[in-house]
């Protein structure tokens, strides 16, 4: 059915955008739950099941750094953009803008 095809394409479209959004949001330090809330408050809903493993993947790739720290008497894992992540984020953002611009033009034609 069309719904399945749409869902597959939607997921593909979101995949790259989510990484970009997470990198952008992590210019400020967050732990998993507050990051999800911050993204959601800005209109980007992302389920925990996608976000938490994604954070780990990005950290493994060296784009994020993490640190266990106490907050409200509980230890939480805080993530933020690493220096390498900042660099890559800048490049990705440029790429994103180019794609967006091109797409706008294509759609307007």
């Amino acid at each position: 059915m069309n719904t399945d095809r749409f869902e597959t394409l939607r997921l593909e479209l979101r995949r790259g955008c989510l990484s970009l959004a997470v990198l952008a949001q992590l210019r400020v330090e967050h732990y998993g739950y507050t990051l999800r809330k911050a993204l959601s408050d800005q209109g980007l809903e992302i389920d925990e099941n996608t976000l938490y493993p994604l954070l780990r993947r990005l950290e493994t790739q060296g784009l994020l750094t993490s640190e266990w720290r106490e907050e409200n008497k509980r230890k939480k894992r805080f993530y933020r953009l690493s220096p390498e992540g900042e660099e890559i984020f800048g490049l990705l953002l440029e790429e994103w803008k180019k794609i967006n611009q091109a797409l706008d033009q294509i759609i307007e034609e």
Binding site: Y31, G32, Y33, R36, D47, N49, Y52, P53, K76, R77
Partner: protein
């Protein structure tokens, strides 16, 4: 937050060992923060259903774990036979079973009753093959069944549907096999069926074993259709396992279990085979039987106690809602 801990315990089973604690700790903090946030929003502590809703939304434990470890080992020949969710459990059980077999054979060797290296290698090989085939089958059933997180109450562990389904089919297959043995001795003796037979021990034990298997199979079928009767299932299972243990005690006195039909015409191969079969059955009854039934009695006992707690909890909830 007992429910949260139970949920995370199930996820833990499926995670790669080296990252297990770290992932679970992080998930615990994130989910707890979410629950606390919800509590602040509602101005009261979350009840169990509300906690379960958050966990259910988070996803079935196997699927959550899979997201963290997408490249886990599996068994595949062209297509995937044992998936990454089942693979760690398969390997663990395989090691335990093969280890137990080594211990059994070593014990027999110490007692001077070692059945021989060929039988030892054969039994290890066939155990490996049968366990692999069983896991492939279980995995097939599991893949066809939707993952879900079953939380009627915090007193119950989540039981994926494929577990009772597999249990029912395995017990029913065993029942049919045992029922067919008198008519088709090949089911036990294979090619040597004409030259070997069951001893008098089984004249007494055959029917009680068949009856127990039948009861077990019927009760598993009933609880598959009526999972809410789980609390009744546990006392029945406990009864079955207890009777099995008593029967086992008398069975151990019933050695030998198979014999050669006609000693005059039988070759030395058949006599040796009968001897080895007796040794293996005896060792299985002596070591495997008690281990299997004791573990089951402990597990069922635990579920039984939790069932009583659940029943009390239901009654309390009912009384509170009546007020």
């Amino acid at each position: 937050m007992e429910l949260l801990e139970q949920y995370l315990n199930v996820i833990k089973m499926y995670l790669p060992r080296d990252q297990r604690e770290d992932i679970i700790h992080e998930l615990y903090e994130n989910l707890l923060s979410e629950m606390e946030d919800k509590e602040t929003e509602m101005g009261r502590p979350l009840n169990e259903d509300e906690q379960a809703d958050i966990l259910r939304r988070h996803g079935a434990p196997q699927l959550v774990a899979k997201r963290y470890a997408p490249d886990q080992p599996c068994v595949a020949f062209g297509r995937q036979l044992i998936g990454p969710e089942s693979f760690p459990i398969y390997i663990r059980i395989l090691w335990i079973v093969l280890g137990c077999m080594v211990i059994v054979h070593a014990s027999l060797a110490i007692l001077g009753r070692f059945p021989g290296i060929v039988i030892f290698i054969n039994s290890m090989f066939w155990t490996f093959v049968s366990m692999t085939l069983i896991t492939i089958l279980i995995d097939l059933v599991r893949k066809k069944t939707k993952h879900y997180w079953h939380t009627p109450s915090m007193y119950y562990l989540p039981v994926p549907k494929w577990i009772p389904v597999t249990g029912f089919f395995v017990v029913t297959a065993c029942t049919l096999w045992w029922a067919g043995v008198p008519l088709f001795p090949r089911l036990i003796f294979g090619m040597a069926a004409g030259e070997m037979e069951l001893t008098a021990t089984w004249h007494f034990f055959y029917w009680p074993v068949l009856l127990l298997l039948l009861i077990n199979s019927v009760h598993r079928g009933v609880f598959l259709l009526r999972p809410q009767w789980m609390w009744l299932s546990m006392p029945i299972r406990l009864g079955i396992y207890f009777i099995c243990l008593v029967m086992l005690y008398f069975l151990l006195d019933g050695y030998p279990y198979v014999s050669v039909s006609n000693l005059e015409t039988a070759g030395p191969g058949i006599t040796g085979l009968a001897h080895n079969m007796n040794q293996i059955i005896y060792a299985a009854l002596l070591i495997g039987g008690p281990v299997y039934w004791f573990i089951n009695i402990i597990v069922c006992g635990w579920f039984f106690i939790k069932g009583i707690q659940y029943w009390r909890w239901l009654r309390q909830n009912k009384q509170q809602s009546n007020k």
